[in-house]
């Protein structure tokens, strides 16, 4: 559930962002406006989402949703920001400039789901560099092993 104050404040911040949608328990935004939204959320004195706790993505078959879980240490708010990107063009701007903690998490998401975070160096982090394919995509099949 969104905190009332957050829900009230979001439309104000999102005035210049037509793709921002406030849902019941999350907000979604287009990828072009994602960095602007996160920066606004972080710098807004009334919300101050200064901590990116989690960053991950899900392959939904037709699209990939990248989710950012933000926390405000000052007010204790939580917010989930989702961003849908097309599966055949999985590019999204990197938020490393805003939250340095996104560094390894973006690399992990790239590694396992093939989401390309633009504006930074991306290298595989968990799998070896020569690995082909992105294992957490639903069409990935693993030959060999028990599963």
């Amino acid at each position: 559930m969104l905190d009332e104050k957050v829900a009230g404040r979001l439309p104000v911040l999102g005035e210049s962002m037509p793709s921002l949608e406030v849902k019941e328990n999350a907000v979604t935004v287009g990828r072009d406006e994602l960095p602007a939204l996160l920066r606004a959320l972080k710098e807004d004195p009334e919300l101050a989402f200064n901590y990116l706790t989690n960053l991950t993505a899900t392959d939904l078959g037709d699209r990939i949703t990248v989710v950012y879980h933000l926390v405000s240490f000052i007010y204790g708010y939580q917010l989930t920001v989702g961003c849908d990107i097309p599966r055949d063009d999985p590019r999204i701007p990197s938020v490393m400039e805003i939250y340095r903690g996104a560094d390894w998490q973006e690399r992990e998401t790239y590694d396992l789901l093939g989401v390309i975070f633009e504006g930074r160096d991306l290298a595989r982090i968990l799998l070896h560099d020569g690995f082909e394919g992105y294992p957490l995509r639903k069409d990935f099949t693993w030959a060999g092993g028990r599963d």
């Binding site: 706790t53 991950t56 204790g76 989930t80 903690g101 957490l136």
Partner: protein, 378 residues
């Protein structure tokens, strides 16, 4: 006449020094498992440290997609294998939140007792291995000696020492055995004396302090920006313990403090763990006192099928914020599971912390981050 500054200038310009690359790991005594740091060194000074992980990657997130929700529980044990109970707790709580399952009081108390026991066990390993990394081997054995008593208790409850698979959606798999309560009470009496012993042997030692104080300083802004969590964040003075900030389970009923550090150096990060263990003992004592009678398992459906949707839930793990992100498509198997592993994200700070310090400090800093490779690589 040559002055000191002249000499330094000459040394810097006339004497040509070369940097070299030292590959630390994946087989190295101080890397807590299979983990590699590629160090670029100038003499013994770190110019750059690049962490390379993934040697223990088993693809638990992918494996979970092929298993039912209950069958994932044993896999969560194997992420942070030193604090398996906490991993279980985070996972089942996420599912409970998704499905709206009520957990009986007794089960909540049992969960808190188990979680805090595991936290102590995990911190004991951290304290002990840190002592080894600084060079004092004896401290490690004292910690393991006392951890053994906790593992015996956990084994008594769940049948396994480390990979417990104890918690279930709606409660726990079995009630506490009768002989557990007197033993845990006895242990809680003994533990503070053991912590004093570590303080005397390790914390109070001047050599130890010389090695760790003001080494690898992490200021609060950087810690927050890098998404550090757990003892590492609190050592920098940021008061963020989910047990207090956003109480889950029955943590709001207990009286405990959140220890905070001042300098954010290795020494503070180390001391946080001993202080947290003392608080955990307090929590367990209160939980034992308030342990209600009743069922240990709530009304949870036999086949777990959460409604379509997603859920992200966090608890305070032993190493920081442990979050589970679950996406359900209404089937008995998770559509997507992602785990926010605290040591993975904390480890992202390593190269930032190491730069400019000596080779020996890399070990001190890495130890103070306290990673478990099973969790980093997942």
């Amino acid at each position: 006449m040559i002055t000191g500054t002249d000499l330094r200038d000459r040394l810097e310009h006339d004497i040509k020094t070369d940097r070299y690359v030292l590959n630390m790991g994946p087989q190295h005594p101080a890397t807590h498992g299979v983990f590699r740091v590629v160090l670029t060194l100038d003499g013994e000074v770190i110019v750059n440290a690049e962490a390379v992980c993934g040697y223990l990657h088993r693809g638990i997130e992918k494996l979970a997609e092929a298993r039912t929700y209950t069958q994932v529980i044993p896999y969560t044990d194997r992420m942070d294998y030193l604090a398996a109970m906490l991993n279980n707790l985070g996972y089942v709580q996420t599912l409970e939140k998704m499905m709206g399952v009520e957990v009986p009081e007794r089960a909540e108390y049992i969960r808190v007792i188990c979680a805090e026991l595991t936290r102590i066990a995990s911190h004991l390993i951290s304290v002990g291995t840190y002592s080894i990394e600084i060079g004092g081997i004896t401290g490690f054995f004292y910690c393991l000696r006392d951890r053994e008593k906790i593992l015996d208790l956990i084994e008594m409850i769940s049948g396994s020492r480390m990979t417990v698979s104890y918690m279930r959606v709606g409660g726990v798999s079995e009630d506490l055995p009768a002989e557990f309560l007197p033993q845990v009470k006895k242990l809680m009496k003994e533990l503070p004396a053991a912590f004093d012993e570590y303080d005397g042997l390790i914390t109070g030692n001047e050599i130890f302090q010389a090695r760790t104080k003001f080494v690898g300083v992490l200021n609060p802004e950087t810690a927050i920006n890098y998404s550090a969590s757990g003892p590492m964040l609190r050592a920098s003075g940021v008061n963020w313990d989910l047990r207090k900030a956003r109480p889950y389970s029955v943590y709001d009923r207990f009286d405990f403090e959140v220890p905070l550090g001042r300098n954010g150096d290795c020494f503070d990060r180390f001391r946080m763990r001993i202080l947290e263990m003392r608080q955990s003992v307090r929590i367990i004592e209160q939980a034992l006192e308030g342990l209600p009678e009743g069922p240990f398992m709530g009304k949870a459906p036999k086949v777990i099928k959460p409604p379509v949707g997603e859920m992200y839930h966090e608890i305070e793990g032993a190493r920081g914020i442990l979050g589970y992100y679950l996406v359900s498509d209404g089937s008995p198997k998770p559509y997507r599971m992602h785990v926010r592993r605290p040591s993975f994200i904390n480890l992202g700070l390593l190269s930032e912390l190491c730069r400019g310090w000596k080779l020996a400090d890399v070990v001190a800093i890495l130890g103070s981050v306290d990673i478990v490779l099973g969790e980093v690589d997942c």
